[in-house]
Symmetry: C2
Subunit: 124 residues, 2 copies
Amino acid sequence: MDSPGRKGATVTPNARALAHPSREDIRVEGVLHALSDPIRLRIVRRLAGAGDELACSHFDLPVSKSTSTHHFRVLRENGVIRQVYRGTAKLSVLRAEDLDELFPGLLDSVLGAAGLQAKRLGED
Amino acid sequence: MDSPGRKGATVTPNARALAHPSREDIRVEGVLHALSDPIRLRIVRRLAGAGDELACSHFDLPVSKSTSTHHFRVLRENGVIRQVYRGTAKLSVLRAEDLDELFPGLLDSVLGAAGLQAKRLGED
């Protein structure tokens, strides 16, 4: 992809911009698929708890870096999170507003269900 | 598989009984996985609309019989539906009570999301 860039002392748009579905291209099947994995649910619960963007390094995941990158990509490509590069860090944030607009209550009920299950299984 | 039959007037437990997870073995990841497919979502929406058990023949699905059987099995093995044989018919019913007890509101929000999407995409 081209890096369009601005001239002078301004910030150059990041050529490493990552692909995201637009809101209208998000599908409920894709969102459910993205949320149907324990590691990805854990990432989403952490992001919901933070309520802000987090660097990948803030997630303590029991998987390799490449597996972790895969899980973040599945979440991003299905419209659950947005990822941006800032300097050398890749930051992730929940697309809560897009999801709530498309599927009211869905994200909250999944987060609630995952929370109840973690409590029931003594994982929290 | 054996066909147990009935002896006298008593009902013999059905040897063709299908395996189901107990309520406490149902996992949110498995439920979401089961619901993350368009055909399976369609089955679940149909069952929710019927509010009762339905024979497989009541679903007009654009897939082969073996693919259809696979989708019903994924739903059953992840605790979303219960299936029983009655004579030669295999009947399916949503495990709405089990799911609501474990994950309050989850099934309804998925059904709601799927309904909104079908409307938005003109599929209903």
